[in-house]
């Protein structure tokens, strides 16, 4: 009985939160369907069609898509390298102080969203794809570093210890004893993150960090809706292709 009462309490709290949300926002949702706003919206939507298909625009789109792909790939690669180094510290392999320091760093990198990193990197490195690459690398380094460190902590210590007992140096023992155990996991995590980052790289351009996002932002600002529509279609196709590819890869590898 008390459980049911509690559930009732929670449900009414949720309903109260809903009412509070709508009233706080003071959204005039009905206003969207009143007067001439439906007509305006419709004509705005219609202005997106037909999508622009001029060859020179399509080739620009292709370049933008390639740029997005490159931003995500290079960003993820940099992140994997930085994450690997940081994970060594974070897994406590090089002392306790560096462990807590690197954990703090990883948490900070991870908690700041990619788009915020992008806005900051545009300041640090100027407009363009390099800022986007750095933004992806910084955020993803935090994510991967933590995952890598977990993999390191769960890896058996015996193989490397046996090599140390046979006189191997610490670096060689790590490369021959520990790395083969964690490498498959590290690669899998990186590929998974890359998939995520392609989506992210497509929108980082909104703050000026290159790729398809920047093209979309610019065309919409210039009221070139039909051109913008082509960019959106390119984004959808890219996301769907990546989804299909990764599903296929997972089915084959998993």
């Amino acid at each position: 009985m008390s459980r049911r009462l509690e559930a009732l309490l929670w449900v009414s709290a949720i309903i109260a939160a809903l009412i509070a949300s709508f009233s706080y926002l003071g959204m005039d949702l009905l206003g969207l369907f009143r007067g001439d706003s439906p007509e305006q919206m419709l004509s705005y939507a219609q202005s997106f069609f037909p999508p622009e298909t001029a060859p020179d625009w399509l080739s620009k789109i292709a370049r933008g898509a390639l740029e997005t792909l490159a931003i995500s790939a290079i960003g993820t690669l940099l992140a994997a390298l930085a994450g690997a180094v940081l994970s060594l510290f974070a897994a406590g392999r090089l002392g306790r102080i560096t462990k807590s320091l690197s954990r703090l760093l990883l948490n900070t990198l991870r908690s700041v969203p990619d788009l915020v990193w992008a806005a900051l990197m545009v300041l640090a490195a100027g407009l363009g794809p390099f800022a986007g690459t750095l933004a992806i690398a910084l955020h993803t380094a935090g994510v991967l570093g933590r995952l890598f460190a977990e993999a390191l902590e769960n890896a058996p210590v015996e193989p490397a210890q046996a090599l140390r007992d046979a006189g191997a140096g610490p670096v060689a023992a790590f490369c021959y004893g520990t790395l083969p155990n964690v490498m498959p996991q590290w690669v899998a995590y990186s590929l998974y993150r890359w998939e995520n980052n392609i989506r992210m790289a497509a929108v980082l351009g909104f703050v000026g960090a290159g790729g398809l996002g920047q093209m979309l932002y610019v065309t919409l600002s210039l009221f070139q809706q039909s051109r913008a529509m082509t960019v959106i279609l390119a984004m959808i196709i890219m996301v769907l292709l990546v989804d299909a590819l990764s599903a296929w890869l997972r089915a084959r590898l998993g």
Binding site: A7, S21, L25, M27, A70, A73, L123, R199, A202, L220
Partner: protein, 278 residues
Amino acid sequence: MLLTSSAQSHRDPAALPRLLITVLAIALLWPGLVITEFAPAALVDPRNLDVFSHFLAGFWPPNTSPEFLAMLGKATLETLAMATAGLALALLLAIPLSLLASRALSVSALLTGRPSRWASAARYPVRLLLILLRSIPEIVWALLFVRAVGLGPTAGVLAITITYSGMLGKVYAEIYESVDQRPARALMQAGSSRLAAFFYGVVPAAAQELMSYTIYRWECAVRASVIMGFVGAGGLGQMIDLSIRMFAGGEVVSILLTFLVLVLLADQLSTLLRRRLA
């Protein structure tokens, strides 16, 4: 005989594949670096360095003036309200769509065990619509809606509504199909309507999972609505964007810290709710 076998053995069978992979990786890496205009030197370019170091210097102390904190509080509430309202509207769209898309309530499947070809064909456009809704990132929708309905949280709410109805609709449909189908089928065979079969046959078994997933998505919506402000859709994101543009480092730090606390709290609340209600 011995000679040939040892001659073969001199070569590592993995050498050639490894070499090819390395060559391929370099061949891909090089244009990648060119396209991304990879130039670490840009980071230490005096002009950039000057701007950024001034900006960084402003990071401490965080801005804690009362009027700024009041604005921050308003923006935080706005972010939370955007996520909650957006998710509620998404539910209104997602539930009917998921019912249309799910195979769980197929009448034609009652006889053959599999939905008829025509029924599957009818579900196909709904599934396509769901895919389309969720494959455009929410921030793109936000950008479009800002242009259609003006700056402010309304655009953010609509963007969350659209994207999340696609995500929720797809997963709901899958959840209906994953629970025991027999109660719903028995009801339909006994002549009850599909909607009744859904409420009495599917919902009791699936409620827990549906609830849990919805709460998880609410948590995601909170994160998403923070970001949304970057294109002018209100909330914390719009504040960060403005502060960065004005090089107000202290404000950026305050907002980021608020954002971290908000995400942490949303995470805690979501865990608590899932445990209490599920």
